[in-house]
């Protein structure tokens, strides 16, 4: 195998993206309906209705109003809560639903999932372009493969309409930041300001992108006064970001500052989460919460490469810091633009992680809110990979290096296949089956679709089935995708278990199950069925004993 003729070929990267696109296109229908799908649809139509109120499209307006009135159930949050959410995905998805004239819930949810995947796919392409600015084609290729073979991110790319979309725009943001570091030209700065505005609109933590970009410019001035000549452009970038933000965020139009502050204060609900065998309030997450989740749900290869990369980057940064000279001609903490990219990404990672861990940020659903840090994880892992590659190259053993890498990646790909369609619930091989069940597994209730399908398969007659829910999971949202005749068979009785024939249970609970008996399974029910993926229990069905 000659590295120059195979993985260094641009056709290889085209083949990778083609394969990803084909797999995504063939499998997007397999994924369940998450608890957020309905909520995002509501958000999309809410803002589309608002935007149309400024136009004269009366037919369209009435159609949107009808759609909006049809989206309701008791488990959905109030307008005051959901109107702060991003419109970047939700409004185009609502327009797409209208354009394709989709009225069947299963179809419009699936189209949304596909659109979600397309966003992710674009993110993958940009991630490759980002790596190409720093590494050679071989490392960029394998770095991109590492990114795609991040099971949780890949799985969520079909139904996570906020975090994956944010991840995509953040990648684009870093790509344009790198381009701006190369040449502070107006075109790239305008692109960057537009993407920065989208990032902030999608997740408020997106503020990190413009702030860190400006901070790095200030660091440049500290080393080289001559960089002051770009000050005007950076100022222009800041103004453009602000203007773009106002323009693309209708929520800010009525009262920009007040509403922006309202978004900053809009955190997740206060609930208990199941973490490391205990139900703990998410207002008081332990410092270990994010590091442990990443450690158990990221493939071992990624963690290994990241550790090497992180160590090497910070070792070099330390050496730069201790040798700063007052009269240095080059920059202080980086030499050359590629090193600047590394420092930029690594310091962003370090500062964001430090803030999230120590500022007691309220989180839930594993590390879903922080999926964007996969950009940093894989970039730093690619840096580690690059150093290993250089080491093997010096020893003239590049073929061995590539073979080991392909083997490791194949094992991850196989495990992802095994998890299908639950890659978003992946645990790595460091974790025992028993330990997996000490964490909340299926917060987004993807398996609820499997649960209902199983019930409909076993009950072919029109007899009504009463289902209790010993979990915080709103089963009603998943029920939407089934035919009316099937939906009418199901009567959800919540926690009124004495009326229930079956009880759906998982370890998702907003209360401490060990203290609160709200979700206790009555003694006249016994375990009937359990869905497990790789040892992790997704849900358990309990059946009334006399049935």
């Amino acid at each position: 195998m000659k590295e120059n003729t195979l993985f260094n070929s641009k056709y290889f990267i085209y083949a990778l993206f083609f394969l990803l696109f084909v797999i995504g296109t063939l499998t997007f229908r397999d994924y369940g309906i998450g608890i957020d799908d309905k909520f995002h649809r509501l958000n999309g139509f809410y803002w589309l209705d608002y935007l149309l109120s400024f136009t004269d499209f009366n037919d369209l307006k009435s159609l949107v109003k009808i759609k909006l009135s049809q989206i309701s159930d008791i488990s959905l949050p109030s307008t005051i809560e959901y109107n702060k959410y991003s419109i970047i995905f939700d409004v185009p998805a609502a327009i797409l639903e209208l354009a394709l004239k989709l009225d069947n819930p299963k179809e419009f949810y699936e189209v949304r999932h596909y659109l979600n995947f397309i966003f992710y796919f674009v993110g993958c392409i940009y991630f490759y372009r980002l790596l190409s600015l720093r590494f050679n084609r071989l490392i960029s290729f394998f770095g991109c493969v590492l990114f795609i073979l991040s099971p949780r991110i890949y799985g969520e790319s079909f139904y996570n309409m906020k975090d994956i979309v944010f991840l995509t725009f953040l990648i684009m943001g870093y790509f344009y930041s790198f381009r701006c570091f190369l040449t502070y030209d107006i075109k790239n700065l305008v692109f960057l300001s537009f993407i920065s505005a989208i990032c902030i609109q999608t997740r408020i933590i997106g503020l990190a992108l413009p702030l860190s970009f400006i901070f790095f410019y200030l660091l440049s001035i500290l080393s080289k006064k001559s960089d002051l000549k770009y000050f005007g452009k950076i100022f222009l970038y800041s103004i453009a970001t602000f203007l773009f933000l106002i323009a693309i965020w209708p929520y800010l139009w009525s009262s920009p500052l007040k509403n922006f502050l309202a978004v900053i204060n809009n955190w997740s609900p206060s609930i208990h989460i199941f973490f490391n065998g205990n139900y703990i309030p998410n207002d008081f997450l332990p410092f270990s919460y994010i590091p442990l989740w990443i450690l158990i749900s990221t493939p071992v290869l990624h963690i290994f490469l990241f550790t090497i990369g992180f160590f090497l980057i910070f070792k070099r940064l330390y050496q730069r810091l201790v040798s700063i000279d007052q009269n240095n001609l080059s920059y202080d903490i980086w030499k050359g633009v590629k090193e600047k990219f590394d420092v930029f990404i690594s310091l962003n990672f370090l500062i964001l992680m430090t803030l999230v861990i120590f500022l007691n940020i309220k989180l839930l659903n594993a590390w879903k809110h922080l999926y964007f840090i996969n950009v940093y994880l894989i970039y730093i892992a690619s840096f580690g990979l690059n150093n290993i590659y250089i080491f093997f190259k010096k020893k003239n053993k590049v073929v061995l290096f590539i073979n080991i890498l392909i083997l490791s990646l194949t094992l991850i790909a196989f495990k992802m296949y095994k998890y299908h369609p639950y890659q978003g619930l992946y645990f790595n091989s460091l974790v025992s089956d028993n330990y997996k069940n000490k964490f909340e597994v299926d917060f987004t209730a993807l398996s609820a679709r499997h649960f209902f399908e199983r019930i409909f398969e076993s009950k072919k007659n029109d007899e009504k089935i009463f289902i209790g829910t010993a979990s915080w999971t709103p089963l009603i949202r998943t029920l939407d995708i089934f035919k009316k005749s099937e939906r009418e068979k199901i009567i959800l009785v919540g926690q009124d278990f004495q009326r229930a024939d079956l009880i759906f249970s998982n370890n998702i609970s907003e209360v401490d199950k060990t203290l609160n008996d709200k979700y206790d399974i009555p003694k006249n029910f016994s375990k009937f069925y359990q869905l497990k993926i790789d040892g992790a229990i997704l849900y358990t069905i309990y059946k009334k004993n006399n049935l």
Binding site: L222, P281, D283, F287, I324, D332
Partner: protein
């Protein structure tokens, strides 16, 4: 000047971490305990415990042991005599 700025940034960062893992963590723990004591779960747990204790007491032949009963009896008699 620039070396001073770099040092300030590093010291600030390290101080933030040190503060959080010492004083910050203690404040967090106190807040957590206060939150737990005033939480609905804790009220439910206390009610549950009281119910369990009353239920187990109801199953016993006697609530008090003989010596305690004698002691309380003498105490009440003394109070009664003083109130006359």
């Amino acid at each position: 000047m620039k070396i001073f700025i770099y040092k300030c940034m590093i010291v600030f960062f390290l101080f933030f971490i040190l503060f959080q893992i010492t004083i910050g963590a203690t404040i967090r723990e106190i807040k957590k305990q206060v939150y737990f004591l005033s939480s609905e779960e804790n009220v439910i747990a206390i009610k549950k415990k009281i119910r369990e204790e009353i239920s187990s007491a109801n199953k016993r032949d006697r609530y008090l042991d003989v010596q305690d009963a004698q002691l309380i009896k003498e105490f009440f008699n003394k109070i009664k005599s003083e109130l006359k």
